[in-house]
Symmetry: C2
């Protein structure tokens, strides 16, 4: 089992949906897969998965609306009970189309930073008591996804060192900022035995990645799940590709 | 001469004020030092400098208010004329007091990202035509502060690799994001012959750095000005300390 309980944001499509699909279909699935999305009514594929798999709990959440976090936390608490939440996957993300400096707009910058950087920080803060509860189970490996972890869905586009193409100001800035958050979280939460890493899913055929991407969501996520299983102390505070390869900041 | 024309944001105090002070007092000062701040009426020290040095032009600018950028650009254009603006120093910054994850607030995150990340991007975009005009002077070194450059005042706290203390989510995220912006700008503007770097001023005795900081503003800025003189092609898109030492992302 990857972990007893997993929460995935932005799970109505793309990589989030594929994560819920593969986790629920695994041989030894999590007891609780909390799949959040903005508009559950329209999440047809997710509803189909949830009908087939009773451990998939579709939960409404707009990550940009902090006032709804309290309700989410109560709901997760009721589901997972006194064992807490093991794994938070901050997957919900936004990518505007802007490219070069002469095209970038203020609103794009602020919307993108809000969804990709601020929301993961604040949602982590809100769910921290439930993650800490899970982490207090000392029977499990010191640092592992099974015990307690926060996975921030980042991107190679957030790697400053690997940037050779320029442009993409809102997205690159937001993911570099998210990586900075990952690093600080990994240091702050180490003593609580909560693992934190940034993961780059690869360039994937999703609405965000487009049709020309070399990877299917199936391959990206199946490799990523293997990587999640293998995460340990030495990965804490790091930045890894879906297949486990370390990336530069 | 460091450059014919220099614009420094946030120049009413701290490092911005010290920059204006040392540039105006130098042996071969810039012809135009455009010193922006939110409330010129209250900028007593800056007004004193401007009274002594006719090349110091105090200009009102709240970097968080994009609608005022047009007026600023016209004003700068009038001052510098057909030779354009050589050097933009995005110095204005904000640092909230928050530390650990359980104390961070949404508003702190968004205010800090707005001032430290979004404003430098959007102000650069607004001033780009004037920078490009300056850069078109092919008599000068290919890439140099004298020809045309954007210096983003960053911080070692924005270095993800050097973070060993954790916390400081708003500030660290905003400066890592600013470093990502520096890298993209350096690639996008290379063909326009505009140099772009991030500079860490050191830990300085300012309102932001506090009294326990090891460096005085005088030393930080005098070393930084030497470093600015030395910037060339090989520094483009990099991250340097005030004394020229390269820093990791």
């Amino acid at each position: 089992m990857l972990a007893r309980s997993v929460l995935v944001t932005g799970s109505n499509r793309g990589l989030g949906l594929e994560l819920v699909k593969q986790l629920s279909a695994s041989k030894d699935p999590p007891e609780f897969i909390i799949a959040t999305c903005r508009t559950p009514d329209k999440a047809e594929e997710l509803k189909n998965i949830s009908t087939e798999h009773r451990n998939v709990h579709i939960t409404q959440l707009d990550v940009s609306n902090e006032s709804s976090y309290g309700g989410l936390v109560s709901h997760v608490q009721e589901l997972v009970g006194c064992q807490g939440l093991n794994l938070l996957i901050n997957n919900a993300g936004y990518s505007p189309k802007s490219t070069r400096i002469n095209m970038v707009k203020w609103q794009q910058m602020s919307d993108t930073l809000l969804i990709n950087t601020i929301a993961p920080v604040m949602l982590t803060k809100a769910l921290l008591p439930l993650l800490s509860t899970a982490a207090s189970d000392s029977a499990l490996d010191t640092l592992s996804v099974k015990r307690a972890a926060i996975i921030n869905m980042s991107s190679i586009l957030g790697s400053i060192g690997a940037n050779e193409q320029g442009g993409l100001y809102p997205y690159r800035a937001s993911k570099a900022a998210l990586n900075a958050v990952t690093k600080s979280l990994s240091l702050d939460l180490r003593r609580h035995n909560i693992l934190v890493t940034s993961i780059h899913p690869g360039w994937v055929q999703t609405d965000m990645g487009g049709k020309n991407a070399p990877l299917t969501p199936e391959v990206s996520i199946s490799e990523m799940i293997k990587t999640l299983y293998a995460l340990s102390e030495k990965h804490n505070g790091g930045f890894f590709q879906y297949d486990g390869e370390a990336l530069q900041w």
